[in-house]
Each structure stands twice: as structure tokens, then as C-alpha cells.
Symmetry: C2
């Protein structure tokens, strides 16, 4: 269990205090947090809550959305929040195409430019900007960074401690170059997240993820690959699924742990 981390979005409707207490009770050492529920609870209060519970904050989701208005201030706040919460990993989801645009190359340049602008502030705050490639089905509306190779092409323009990548099994498993890219990533890997691929995808596709073991992704093989690349950090279970969210939080946590122990470790 030493590397297990529970991303709070996996039990979206579980209040933060209960998630934290549940993790402590279950012997879970780490938690992945999201900005919105943390802000709702209160940033300083949340930082105290997790610190006093002895939980490591393994990541904060999320900065990014660099193709939307206001990205600069939002991302500065996100960097500060990550530092306040005591995590060195700020997950970046780049954003999709600007409204009405067909210029995917242009959107990708905006992402690289924005990261260049934020990198010094992140470095000063001791926070790694962790670029997360999302599955290509999100390319137009959420994330023009669609492969690990593409994320690395951006990340490699910066110091490894300042800009890294997130390897999320759900988003990258289909890529026939993923094992090469994981090896290439090496010390750039800032986080490894797991969710399983299940079909049929629901309308909007966002909430289509399965708990580890429920789908077809080689979660263990990918975990072994990130380990072989030198990654020794946490493994976060992060599942968005309306049916999972409808279950009691503790049941979701227990199912996440069980899936992790059986299919990832």
C-alpha cells in the first residue's frame, strides 16, 4: 500500500473530511486533490486537515486550460494552492481548441507558450508542472495534448523538476509507442494514474472510466514500465464514473484499493 493514492474525484460526492478520515482508517498513505472541492472547504483548512491526518498530497488537479481566457491568473493561483497543500505536482490539462477554431497547431503553440511563461513561477514555488496528455477523444474540447510523446516534446524544453508529465493509463494505453515514450520520459514522470478502459462510452465520454481491473488496460505492465523508467512515486487511482460516484465513498475507496492490489501492484 506504500505507493497507493486515492484521487478524491474517484468518490466525487464524498466530503473532503470524510475522504481524509476514510483514507486514514483504510491505511491509505496518499490523496490526490482537486482545486474546486479544496476551495469549497477552504484552502488553508484543507492543507491543515490533510497534514494533521498524515496524508501525503500526491497531486493537485488541475491547472491548464491555456486556450481559455483568464488562464494566467488561474494557473498562478493553482501553483500557489499546490504549494500551500504541500504537493509538488500540479496536473495540467491543456485545454482544447478555442471556441469556433480549427487551428489545432495554433492551440498547441498556445500551450507551450503558456507553460514557458508559468515555468519560472512554478520553479520558485517548488511545484512541478505536470503535463497530462488526455485520450485523443478529448482533443477538441479539453486537451490538445493527446499523446505522451507530444507532452514530452513540450516538457523537454524545460528543466525536469519544473515541467514533467503525467502518465495516466486510461489516456495512453492504446498508443503503440507508449512504452518507448515512457522509457524516454524517465525522470520527467511526475505522476502515474490509473483507471480502466470500459465500453460502451457514455454520452460526453468523460464519465466512462472503470475501476482498476474492470476493463482492458494492462495497468500492471504500464506500472512496471514507469518503474523501469525510474519512477518511484505514488500510484493514484482516479476514476470518473457516474455509477461509481453513486456508491458510498468508503465502498469506492475499498474497491479502488482492492483493484489496485489485484491489478496494479
Amino acid at each position: 500500500m506504500a505507493r497507493f493514492s486515492f484521487n478524491q474525484a474517484t468518490a466525487k460526492h464524498w466530503p473532503l473530511e470524510d475522504v481524509v478520515a476514510g483514507c486514514v482508517d483504510a491505511g491509505v498513505p496518499g490523496i490526490g486533490l482537486w482545486r474546486e472541492p479544496v476551495q469549497e472547504y477552504g484552502l488553508a483548512k484543507a492543507a491543515t486537515l490533510v497534514r494533521e491526518a498524515g496524508l501525503a498530497v500526491t497531486s493537485l488537479c488541475r491547472g491548464g486550460f491555456f486556450t481559455a481566457d483568464g488562464w494566467r491568473d488561474e494557473n498562478r493561483r493553482a501553483i500557489e494552492e499546490a504549494a500551500t497543500l504541500g504537493t509538488s505536482v500540479l496536473v495540467l490539462v491543456s485545454g482544447g481548441l478555442p471556441e469556433g477554431s480549427r487551428d489545432v497547431d495554433g492551440a498547441r503553440r498556445m500551450v507551450a507558450d503558456a507553460i514557458a511563461e508559468l515555468a519560472p513561477e512554478a520553479a520558485a514555488a517548488g511545484v512541478t508542472l505536470a503535463i497530462e496528455p488526455l485520450h485523443p477523444m478529448f482533443c477538441s474540447d479539453r486537451c490538445v495534448v493527446a499523446t505522451l510523446g507530444q507532452a514530452l516534446d513540450i516538457a523537454e524544453q524545460f528543466e525536469p523538476g519544473t515541467v514533467g508529465v503525467v502518465v495516466d493509463a486510461y489516456h495512453v494505453w492504446w498508443d503503440d509507442t507508449v512504452y518507448q515514450q515512457i522509457a524516454r520520459a524517465g525522470a520527467r514522470i511526475a505522476a502515474y494514474q490509473v483507471a480502466d478502459w470500459i465500453t460502451p462510452l457514455p454520452e460526453g465520454v468523460l464519465l466512462g472510466r472503470g475501476l482498476p481491473g474492470d476493463g482492458c488496460v494492462e495497468l500492471r505492465r504500464l506500472r512496471e514500465a514507469v518503474d523501469a523508467a525510474g519512477y518511484t512515486g505514488p500510484v493514484e487511482v482516479e476514476v470518473f464514473n457516474a455509477e461509481v460516484w453513486a456508491r458510498p465513498g468508503r465502498a469506492v475507496l475499498d474497491a479502488s484499493v482492492a483493484g489496485y492490489l489485484r491489478h496494479v501492484v
Copy 2:
């Protein structure tokens, strides 16, 4: 209009005789056919119908599904049907993971092995096996060939006239390496198909395509790229969309032509 082709699946519920008459009336020179409606109408009768109408059959969809039982006989029949219909392009959709499998590499080997087995028969029949990479969102259940690069890795093991690739804008637009891969493909490009990317994706994602111009894909830029790679063949509009299917066939054909002239040519 010289390169325009109407894939019959764009107006799924339009009877074959009516599609053919509609194409002739609209001055459309080519049609893409599907095996199921052709079989339903009668293969020999369909071949006569399109020939007497003066329409070029630009492709037959589809062979493939190499990870399913019975693939060998099905694909032999598909090759024969393509030859009978007078098209040199048999579109191959590889198939997804076998039921319950997590072995995506294994499934990909099955695809390459199956194509190796079919290649001599296709060559003898004068039919090009055209490997179509589908969008990665179909990787698990329809097509483990998820990128143009991966399709070319397979195709390049064979003679260019025997095994080629389909470039379908809908499936490849998100790929930051797609223009390199199109240039690499060169004479391997057996077909260029267009549909637009629109969101939100519907449940099951299969029927989420838009008519040319309704979404965010750079259809003209991709067409120019396949042309620059040496492709001079037809441009097939192929859209699967329940709302489009609910319209009268002729309205769909006219909208396809209009979108093509405005956004692709």
C-alpha cells in the same frame, strides 16, 4: 466534383437504387459501398446497377475484424465482393481486443498475421487491402490499429498495390504526427475519407460524426497533404450520425456535396 464520392453509410437508410439514382442526378461520379446493404440488394445486381449508372465504386467497407472468429472466410468473401463490384479498395477495420483480453500487442500481431495471409488473395483479385486506422476511442472494441503510423508499419511489410492505408480525417486529425505520416504514406494512400469532429460525443461514440464543415477538422489541409503525398484518388464523404440518417437521403447527399465544395476542395 470530379473527385467527390458519396459513401452510402452517410445516408444509411436510403435504399441502394435510390442512392445510385440520386448520385447520377446530382452529378456525383463515385460511390462508396458497404457489404451489408449490397448483400441485401444482391451482389451481382448491385454491381450491374452501379456500372450501368456510370458510377465508380470508390471503396467497399469493410473487411477486417481479424480478432473475431471466422475472419478468414469473411475476408475472402469481402475481397471477392470488391472485385465483383469493380473497386480496387477494400477498407479494413482491424477489430478490437478479443472478448475478455487485455493483450493489445497480441491483437495487433493477429492483425498483421491475418493481412499477411490475405495479401496473396487480394493481389490475385486486383484488390488493395486498405488498412484504416480508427480513432483511438475505438481501440478496444473495433480497431486496435489506432494511428496512421501504426497502419503504415503494417502496410510497409507488403507491396504498395497490395496493402495500403485509408486516411480518414475524422480518425486522424488529432495526431500531431499526422502530416509526417501522410508524407510517409505516399503511394500507400488508397483512400481519403472525410467527416467532421463534433462534440459532445453520443453514447457509444460511433454515431458522433459531423458533415464536412460542421466541426473542427482541417479537412482541406488534410486533403492538400494527401494530394502532396501523391494521392489523386476520390474523396469520400462518410458520416455516421443518427440525426443525419433521419433526413431524406437526397438532402444528405446535397449537404455532403455542399460541405465538400466549401470545406474540402
